[in-house]
């Protein structure tokens, strides 16, 4: 294993890390801050991906000259559509289930099934592929033996930007303050005059919007189909739970560790054994740290 290989594998780990982080941030916010288990998170990512698909088709048809830009429009559209859907979902379903996390799990699982079938019927039962923008084709040849695919670099960049924006939102704005207040002590926050129902709705919408961004960016790496969401949900959950549910930082660390582990396991073992090993490892670590890596002590 030479240095080139090392660099490439480390980059692979980095890429997987950012992908997991994008997927998990939305879920961590919803799960960690609100106590809602959203099993439809995967389908929301698919929704974001389909938004990109639609945007690509639209640009292809009407503005082929501007194809290079469609990706940004796609991501923006994905965010808007999924956060809107999230808002409606929260108002219509989730807010009745706040004290019952296991019930939200089942109810959102139901939502995910309905969404999957909707995708199958309204869009396409087969998987659809979104063309990569021309300026993200190929790779950046760093050295003789080391090259980094541009699409992955873009996703890394996107993940960093998104994480930074989320951090700024949560820790530097008034809305973020309200969200954190409601998370830490709902009753007091309400007593202090914060409109907790509004905060809940917006937080959930934000979480779903992040899922949309994640899904939209995956179109560069893989196809999207009705069952794509289900493939992502397990990984996303594991990442969030592994990092410690109440801690966003924990989620980020967890994504990093799992990303690197997956990269190295896949290199040394077969694909399916790698996956099984990671799940097993997570179970083992959870045994030693039952509340995840960064278990925050929060009074509910």
């Amino acid at each position: 294993m030479n240095l080139d290989m090392l660099a490439m594998q480390a980059f692979t780990g980095l890429s997987i890390f950012t992908i997991l982080m994008l997927m998990a941030l939305g879920l961590a916010i919803v799960f960690g801050l609100m106590g809602v288990i959203n099993m439809a998170h995967g389908e929301l990512m698919a929704m974001g991906a389909y938004c990109s698909y639609g945007t690509a088709l639209f640009f292809e048809r009407f503005m082929p000259g501007l194809m290079g830009l469609y990706i940004f429009v796609g991501i923006g559209l994905a965010f808007v559509v999924t956060s809107l859907f999230g808002y409606l979902l929260e108002r219509g379903l989730i807010r009745f289930l706040y004290k019952r996390p296991l019930d939200t799990l089942l109810a959102t699982w139901g939502v995910s099934l309905v969404l999957q079938q909707l995708y199958r019927q309204l869009i396409n039962a087969k998987e659809v592929e979104v063309p990569t923008v021309s300026w993200l084709h190929g790779a950046w040849q760093a050295t003789e033996g080391v090259s980094f695919p541009l699409s992955r670099l873009f996703i890394i960049g996107l993940a960093v930007v998104t994480a930074t924006l989320v951090y700024l939102l949560l820790f530097r704005t008034r809305w973020g303050l309200r969200i954190r207040a409601v998370t830490q002590n709902r009753a007091m926050a309400g007593a202090a005059g914060i409109n907790t129902t509004k905060v809940d709705a917006y937080t959930f919408a934000l979480g779903c919007g992040l899922a949309g961004i994640a899904g939209s960016s995956f179109t560069m790496l893989a196809s999207t189909g009705p069952t794509t969401g289900q493939q992502y949900i397990v990984d996303t959950f594991i990442t969030v739970v592994f990092g410690g549910v109440e801690s966003l930082l924990g989620t980020i660390f967890s994504a990093f560790i799992i990303g690197q582990m997956q990269s190295w396991f896949e290199y040394s073992l077969s694909g399916s054994m790698a996956r099984a090993s990671i799940l097993l490892l997570v179970i083992v670590v959870l045994y030693f740290r039952p509340n995840g890596l960064f278990a925050a002590k929060v009074r509910r």
Binding site: R100, G110, Q116, S272, R275, N291
Partner: protein, 397 residues
């Protein structure tokens, strides 16, 4: 729904509430179920539909187990498919070895393939039977293995986690991961497990042909009897002191701990019991359907099993059976007639049951019954776990 005065401030159920629910109403319901299963259904369905009913009933075993651990233990397991799968595959290995080692077939296979290993092993160029397949040549190993191995695994896993106070949601994710791991490994190691196609193509059990109508009828009755036994056993456990401690753990685990009990032991025990039921269900399923497949091991089927229990009534063992049969029948109905609506149906069922029928059909029946009698509703009283207890055992831990 009026709340009986004796309920705690957080809406948890008191032990007395359980006792009421387990009164003569339950025995009455049990008899009705037994009559339905053993008399009414076999007389009114043809063999094909009877086989389908038996299939749903096998899944009902898992639902009964889930009622025990979820309704009364407060543990939501999203991995019962794993135990179902273990029972199913163990039985399949036995049946497959029987079909390939029986004299007549062994001869034919050897001459055709060059070896008398199960067909999928030959396709995957497996040279010899793996060591862990060997014991399944013998029925006196297979049956005890089905009854003992999954519960043992379940107990160890559950006890280890509960001792560390791994709470509700985390444990649910762990069970989710467990069923995911098992299904990934089964599919990945297709040379020795049959992979995504599963293990199939076996015809006899201990020499008895399984394809005949007579065999199918007999299997149906065996399944019913075993299911009723499991329901009875579950009820017995719940009526015992153990059952009461379990409900107490579900509602206020810390207090139970302070009272000197080890909640981990109780929870692990009931989790193992549920695994036992699932394993039996899996084995019966394989005999009747003629197939062991990873599609019943992973996350999706495991979550579906939870909905069987939820539809029937989270705290009703008998309801679980009805739930399994109803949802299973709906699945067949939709697949036969309106294929694309099945997903909408079951998705909406999840949402509907969770939002509006937290006590399931048993709760609805209970309400109707009590309204007829003008009394308070014991079933609804028994099911108030959501408000306080579940969230307590949830993420706060």
């Amino acid at each position: 729904m009026s709340k009986p005065a004796r309920q705690g401030a957080n809406g948890g159920v008191t032990v007395a509430g359980v006792a009421t629910e387990r009164g003569w109403g339950e025995k009455y319901a049990f008899v009705i179920l037994a009559v339905l299963l053993l008399l009414v259904v076999p007389l009114s369905l043809d063999v094909f539909r009877l086989g389908l009913a038996a299939k749903y009933l096998s899944l009902g075993f898992c639902a009964v187990g889930i009622v025990l651990i979820w309704g009364y233990g407060g543990i939501l397991s999203l991995g019962q498919g794993a135990f179902f799968g273990l029972g199913s595959y163990m039985m399949a290995m036995f049946l497959k070895l029987e079909s390939t080692s029986a004299d007549s077939s062994a001869q034919a296979l050897s001459s055709f393939f060059g070896s008398n290993l199960p067909d999928f092993m030959v396709w995957n160029s497996v040279e010899t039977l793996p060591w862990w397949w060997e014991p399944f040549h013998y029925v006196w190993f297979t049956i005890p293995a089905i009854l003992l191995l999954p519960p043992l695994l379940a107990f160890i896993l559950a006890y280890a986690n509960f001792r560390k106070r791994v709470g509700g949601v985390y444990f649910s994710i762990i069970t989710l991961a467990l069923s995911a791991i098992l299904s990934i490994v089964i599919i990945g190691q297709q040379g020795v497990t049959g992979g995504v196609n599963g293990i199939n193509d076996f015809r006899t059990f201990m020499g008895i042909n399984l394809d005949t109508d007579q065999a199918k009828r007999t299997m149906y009755f065996i399944t019913c009897v075993l299911l009723l036994l499991c329901v009875g056993a579950g009820g017995f456990i719940l009526r015992s002191k153990l059952g009461k401690v379990l409900v107490a753990i579900r509602d206020k685990e810390d207090r139970v701990r302070f009272s000197g009990y080890d909640p981990a032991l109780f929870k692990a025990f009931i989790f193992a019991v549920a695994a036992l039921f699932s394993s039996i269900g899996g084995a019966l399923f394989t005999i009747q359907v003629g197939l062991a497949s990873p599609s019943l091991v992973g996350i999706v089927p495991s979550v579906e099993m939870v909905i069987y229990a939820a539809v029937g009534g989270r705290v009703s063992l008998i309801g679980a059976v009805y739930g399994a049969v109803l949802v299973g029948s709906a699945k067949t109905f939709f697949s036969e007639n309106f294929v694309q609506y099945w997903m909408y149906f079951i998705g909406c069922l999840f949402i509907f049951v969770v939002m509006f029928l937290p006590d399931g059909l048993a709760g609805v029946l209970g309400r109707v019954r009590m309204r007829m009698r003008g009394r308070k509703n014991p079933v609804a009283a028994a099911v108030q776990p959501d408000a306080g207890s579940v969230s307590e055992s949830g993420i706060a831990k």
